[in-house]
């Protein structure tokens, strides 16, 4: 009900266009054409010289970013594609092998296991960290004393480097000398010896628990918190008048209103899970993704192939697959978001 009122205020017309958007629409002229036109008109209209100079000044300001993008993003991506077609080793030996790396890849059971683990890990990590970040943000959104201290405490683990965090948890989750087993043993008065990181029943529980303390979750929490502050209070007041439960308020007001932020965090969480999981898993479960390859995400396999087996060409082919998966996740999330995300304007 309240959300309908909000939509009404947003001024959206039934045909999807906004009220008052009756300005005459300008035809699209490509930038290059506009520059050429400007140059042609230069002689006829001296005043356009100033416009051109302004454009060039703008491009000059943008140039550093473009140069950085070309050198450090575009070139490495193109180079990665090129190297994936060679049998390049870490010591520099390289020959063109066509699509041999890709053929070997699809024939390797290690690769398919890694794909399965990567997809599972990415989806679950994204869901777990997003939900946890929302919960923390909601808790912090309650007006109470010492809120700043709570926020500091919740966010503190997030500023610890992921590698240090992983090593700490590796010690905590140890079997013989692990802190967690010691605490459980004290509480239960039994000698508890759970092999948290090597038992296939507990490994995911342990790993996803650790992801709650990563930088990504802390960052999400702060973004959600700022989003929650922007939800208009009158919507909640309207709900209170209607007698809505807190559960109903969350799903009827809060979630739709912060859905663009959920989308943003979901995309960032996905990319972080795909690329950043290495820093978490390498110290925790090793390059082979113990136990039994259950945590061998693609980034771990890429590292193993490139730096332990020296197969840089093959590792680049794996990186291409990781790149495509990241693209797939991004496109997929945006496609789903068209139905689920609510934009006020």
């Amino acid at each position: 009900m309240a959300i309908k009122a909000a939509r009404h205020r947003s001024g959206r017309r039934p045909d999807g266009k906004r009220k008052g958007s009756g300005r005459k629409e300008r035809s699209f002229v490509p930038l290059s054409e506009r520059i050429v036109n400007a140059m042609k008109n230069e002689k006829r209209k001296p005043i356009n010289k100033k416009k051109l100079t302004n454009h060039l000044t703008a491009y000059a300001f943008c140039a550093p970013w473009f140069i950085g993008f070309i050198c450090f993003t575009l070139f490495p991506i193109v180079f990665m594609f090129a190297v994936s077609l060679t049998n390049r080793k870490l010591n520099g030996i390289s020959n063109f092998v066509g699509f041999a790396n890709y053929v070997n890849m699809v024939q390797s059971p290690t690769f398919w296991n890694s794909i399965k683990v990567t997809l599972f890990f990415t989806v679950v990590m994204m869901v777990v960290t997003t939900i946890w970040a929302v919960i923390l943000a909601m808790l912090l959104n309650y007006k109470q004393k010492l809120n700043g201290i709570f926020q500091f405490c919740y966010f503190l683990p997030s500023v610890i480097p992921t590698v240090a965090l992983a090593y700490t948890f590796r010690t905590i989750f140890g079997k013989e000398a692990g802190l967690l087993n010691a605490i459980i043993s004290q509480l239960t008065a039994k000698n508890v010896m759970v092999n948290w990181l090597y038992d296939k029943r507990t490994i995911y529980l342990a790993v996803f628990f650790i992801t709650l303390f990563t930088y990504n979750t802390g960052q999400m929490m702060l973004i959600f918190r700022s989003g929650l502050n922007d939800v208009p209070r009158e919507l909640y007041e309207a709900c209170d008048i209607d007698g809505a439960s807190p559960f109903r308020k969350f799903f009827g007001i809060t979630l739709p209103m912060i859905s663009p932020i959920v989308l943003f965090n979901a995309v960032m969480g996905c990319i972080s899970a795909l690329n950043g999981s290495f820093a978490l898993l390498y110290p925790l479960t090793g390059e082979s993704g113990d136990p039994n390859g259950m945590t061998q995400v693609l980034s771990l396999l890429i590292y193993k192939e490139a730096f332990s087996n020296m197969k840089v060409g093959y590792a680049c082919a794996l990186s291409v697959v990781l790149f495509l998966i990241a693209c797939g996740f991004g496109i997929g999330i945006f496609a789903v978001s068209k139905k689920l995300v609510y934009y006020e304007n």
């Binding site: 100079t53 000044t57 000059a60 300001f61 140039a63 550093p64 140069i67 050198c71 049998n87 080793k89 870490l90 010591n91 520099g92 030996i93 070997n104 390797s108 059971p109 290690t110 590796r170 010690t171 989750f173 140890g174 079997k175 013989e176 000398a177 692990g178 039994k190 000698n191 010896m193 092999n195 948290w196 990181l197 090597y198 038992d199 296939k200 925790l284 479960t285 090793g286 390059e287 082979s288 993704g289 113990d290 136990p291 039994n292 390859g293 193993k304 192939e305 490139a306 730096f307 332990s308 087996n309 020296m310 197969k311 093959y314």
Partner: protein, 438 residues
Amino acid sequence: MGRKKLLALLLSTAVVCGSLAGCGAKGTQKQEGSVAGSTESKAGESSKTDSAEVGKKVTIAVWNEPSKDEALNMYLQAGKATGIDVEVTVIPESDYSSKLNQMVSTGNDSVDIYVIWENDIANFAQVGGIIPLDDYLAKSTIKTDEFIDAVAKLSEGLGGTYGLPWCAATELLYYNQDMFDAAGIAYPTNDWSYADYKAAAEKLTKKAADGTTEVYGSTLPNTQTWWAGIGGAGDQVFDPAKGQMVIGDGAVSFVSDVAQMVKNGTMPEPSSDTADLFAAGKAAMSWQGSWNIGTYGGGLAFNWDIASIPTDKLKYNTLHTGFYSINAKSKNQDSAFKVIEYLMGEEGQAINSKASGNPSAIKSIAEKGAWKVESVTTIENWDAITDSLKAGVFGYTCLPSGVTNNAISEFNSAVLGQKTPEDAVKNASQYAKETIGY
């Protein structure tokens, strides 16, 4: 407005120039690398350009920290003896091989002496990343004809001597004498069989009332000693002719044994624990490298000694070393060889042995016994080291670490009951075939 434009222009020019300068420098490095990779004579030529000025400082890349004790710091002593400033670059062991490969690939000249691992020496020689030392050795006092046989075999087929072994480390059985005394079991000998070892481990295991193990009979094999067990069970482990990993029935047998010992509580499960159970007095025996003699020194709270790795079907031991070699891009090659000459000489080798507990790979120097670490007072069976050296071969250390780590991960899965030993060995072999010869 004019000022803004000027500022924009200056900044843009600076960024473009900086980027181009950076790209240009990288390009030059690559070019040099490719030249080094294609010719050996180039390396020889650059050694002639060595001058007194640049030869005053030599940088050496190693994976372990030099001894804090000045007298046992062989690099410091090499500097004093040769008058050359020896700078040590320590690269963490986990990244050591890959860093060196990257240095060779990019033609990096910041390091003059590489200490190369067994699995890298042939590749580095092949791409011209290191120089042949034969010309230097012809005029040197280094006793190359006295190297242990395994070293000579490893250098075969390279077309020259590209590296000199800094030591010959082996693997040993460490045991807690106090626990053996308490259990009334005779100490292990160098002739101990694998059955003797298993029986002793069973007897030495102490369990709590609830059935959990308080003291293990033996620790789990570590990343190195898994291969001693597999080789001892009859597998070749490494085929030097094909460069392949060769495991089969021996591996299945050893993995099955370990799995059974873990099930019985005689050995701990593979886990994320990083504690050394033997040093902590929680395990009576442990298979480890000889370098741990120097690490333990006199620091353990109990009496301990060493013995050869127990013999199953055959006596097998993996040798470990690193090879002193000279970077083909080094501008200080003559000075670098002078430092190597000291390190491979009697004094340098003796210091290395005293610091690490590893014998020299030169027989006549090893026989003098400098590896009998003085701080360790409880070891009586020093013969275990010479006995292990006799059985020593370069095995798994010649394989890529990704292949061996993957195999151990498979073995651990089998030990934990997540797959059968047969499947684990089959998977490990398949992965090795996919990887080696790439």
